[in-house]
Structure formats: structure tokens, C-alpha cells
Symmetry: C2
Subunit: 201 residues, 2 copies
DNA sequence: TTTTGCTGACTGACCGGTCAGTTACGGTGT
DNA sequence: ACACCGTAACTGACCGGTCAGTCAGCAAAA
């Protein structure tokens, strides 16, 4: 129907403004006014497009998910080990880390709010499920192609990796420290899945 | 000096009330009034003892830390493997899990607030450092006593375990799910440290 | 003319913190 | 015995500020 090509739809602009506002103020201190300012429109204009703050934020999470899956999607081919490393790096610090660092903090704040709101929980589960699927897929391929140990329990390994990534995220954001977690995870992958490439155990 | 024995000091009562209020309302929705209600005193009475909400909350974290370390402290002796399991269980769901589940959620919310406040970050680091020390100590003992593989990198293993516990905490609270993370961690310990007790690799 | 998109001004609720008092109590002087 | 004072602990009323959401109206597009 409405083939607005060059014209950016207002809702897209709002998502973009929300992103910037979120990075600048964090989730807890995020007000509708902040978003409106970033959008360079008035606060009631925001309420014209989204009835409630909660609705806007949920829409933002949806928006983020489509972008996220676009970005993190692992290449379908290539050595499994390299694909897994790329996946871990992507999850650990997303592309343009300097720009996205603040977003990660904000998303962590969203996580903390999730326990009290089913809809938020559902959105976050989507992220988690997606990441788990990707990891499971890569690990599965690696086992099949012989790159990883044949006796690997794919499900357990995927759970471990995703939990590790979650923990790394949590510690980095909450403590501000990064005490070799990345190296530890890499060591885990080496030790658990491969490296000792003498196929037979 | 002041030998108030049977008389519970008001500040202790306040910490207790804060605990209950935190469990009932969560961190984000916690007001001074909530704490005052739980304490069955007035809000200004609260400000009489603690100038600011932030100060009260920081005091509460300190209070919690002393209790936490009292509770989680692993027994000094016994098989390393059992001590490690106990430590993991304690970190995964603290004693009286039914009573403390809400507190864990609240503490997670505190974590999310930490990036914006150095003092909170410092308190949380104390918890993390304590847990890391305990894990490192148990793993070290296990390696020394031969219960764990001799080629274990103690530091890396401790980092991995603590990160896993963080991740498990995060996922459980934020997603409400518990998809066999505990089993995965146990499998990790089996696979990584022992179980295959054929000493030589 | 109607609809779309927007604005300035506003409301109602909430919340952290303040303040002027009040109560209970333990000395101290008489 | 009684009056007096000081202080710790506490209360009801209130203030300043914030923020989500509302509303009447305006301008441009359809």
C-alpha cells in the first residue's frame, strides 16, 4: 500500500530515537521526554504513535530482535570452530562495540525488569532461544563434520555456552570487570570440543 | 558501652524490614514507604536512621554480605568434589530457597542498577570476589588432593564456574526458566574436573 | 471537510526528603 | 518528692519535583 521509500516511517525514527535515548540514559532513567527529545518531536507526539511507554518499549524489543538476528546470524558454511568463535565474539561484544556497549547495559536493565512482566520475559526468551539455536546448530555441525569431539553432548554444550555468555554479560555489566572471561570461554571451547585435534580421544 | 542485649537495635530491625519489603515489591518498585510499612514505623523515622534511600540500600547490601558469607562458607574439610557441589548448590539456590527466591530477583535488579553507581558496584564485587575465592580454594584443594585432574588450570576453572553461576542466576531470574542449567553445570564439573577418575589423561 | 500528525499546556499520582512538633526517658538540682 | 532539662526516637503534614498520560486546538495533507 503505502510505498514510502525515501520517507522514513515515523515509527522507525522512534525506534532509532529510543535506541539513542536508551544508550544515553539507561533503562531505569529513561523517560518518554528523553525519547521525544532524541526524536526531536514532542512527548504527546510519542503517545500519538504508542499509547503507553510499555508498548513502545515492547515494540523496541521486537525491533531490536529483527536487527539482532540479522546481525548475529552465523554464516552457514565455513569451519565449525571459526563459526563458533565468531558467534561467541558476536554475543560477547556485538559489532561496533563502542556504540553498542551502552545498549548492552540498558538491555541488562530490561532483563532485571522482566521478572515482573510476562511480555518482557517473552521477548527476552526469544533472544535467548535464538542464541541457543545458533550455538546448538554450530556445535551440531562441528560434531557431524568431525571438527569437534564425537562424544560431545550437543544439548548440554549449547546450554553451557549460552549460560557462560549470559554470565559473562552479567559480570561485565554489573561489575565493570572483564577478568579474562573471554579467554576462559575460549579455553573451555578448546578443552571441551576440540584443539586436541587427535580425532580419537 | 551500650550493652543492649535483648533489645534489638532499630537498625537491625530496619535491615530486616528492608529485606521483607525487597522481597515483596522488588527493587525497582521499592519505596521508603514500603520499608517503613514493613518496619511498622513512619517514613520520617526511617530518614532519622538513614539520611537517604541510597544510604539505606548500601547499608542493606553490607548487612547482606555478612549474612551471605556466614551462610555460604564452605566447610574446610571433606571431599573436594562434595564441597564444590555444595558450593554450587548454595550459589544456585540459597538455603530456604522458597524464602529467598524473591530476594535473588531483587538482587538481580540491584545488579542492573550497579553500572550507574560506583558504590553499588563495589558492594556487588565483594560478593563476586568472595564466591570466586571460595571456588578457587575448593578447586585448588581438589587438585592438590588428587580428586580433580592434575592438569586443571585453577584460575580458568574458577572463572568459568563463577561465570556459569552468574549466567544461571541471570537466566533463571530473567527468563523464569531453568532448562537443565544445573545438570549442565554438574556435567561440566564431571567432565572437566573428575568423574573419569583414570588419573592419567 | 475530514483525517493525520503534531504541539503547548495541563493533570494526577507518586515519591524522596524536610520540618515542626510530640512522646518517653534518664539524669540533675532542690 | 517534684520540677526542670536534654536527648533519642518518632509522627503528621507538607514541599518540590518528576513523570506518564490527557486534552484542546492548529496546520497541512487527502
Amino acid at each position: 500500500m503505502n510505498g514510502d521509500d525515501s520517507v522514513s516511517r515515523p515509527t522507525d525514527d522512534i525506534m532509532c530515537a529510543t535506541y539513542r535515548a536508551l544508550c544515553r540514559h539507561g533503562y531505569a532513567d529513561l523517560t518518554m521526554q528523553d525519547i521525544a527529545d532524541e526524536w526531536e518531536k514532542s512527548k504527546p507526539a510519542l503517545h500519538y504513535h504508542y499509547d503507553t511507554k510499555r508498548g513502545l518499549l515492547l515494540a523496541f524489543l521486537d525491533h531490536l530482535f529483527t536487527n539482532y538476528t540479522d546481525r548475529v546470524a552465523a554464516p552457514e558454511d565455513g569451519p565449525a570452530r571459526e563459526r563458533l568463535d565468531a558467534l561467541i565474539d558476536a554475543a560477547l561484544d556485538p559489532p561496533r562495540a563502542d556504540t553498542h556497549r551502552e545498549l548492552r547495559t540498558a538491555l541488562f536493565e530490561v532483563k532485571a525488569q522482566a521478572p515482573h512482566d510476562e511480555a518482557f520475559r517473552e521477548r527476552l526468551s526469544r533472544f535467548d532461544d535464538y542464541l541457543t539455536d545458533e550455538v546448538r546448530s554450530v556445535v551440531g555441525d562441528g560434531v557431524e563434520s568431525g571438527a569437534f569431539r564425537a562424544d560431545t553432548d550437543i544439548e548440554t554444550t549449547a546450554t553451557l555456552l549460552v549460560t557462560l555468555l549470559n554470565g559473562a554479560h552479567s559480570r561485565r555489566v554489573a561489575l565493570g570487570a572483564d577478568d579474562g572471561v573471554r579467554e576462559a570461554i575460549r579455553a573451555f571451547v578448546d578443552d571441551h570440543l576440540g584443539r586436541r585435534v587427535d580425532e580419537s580421544r
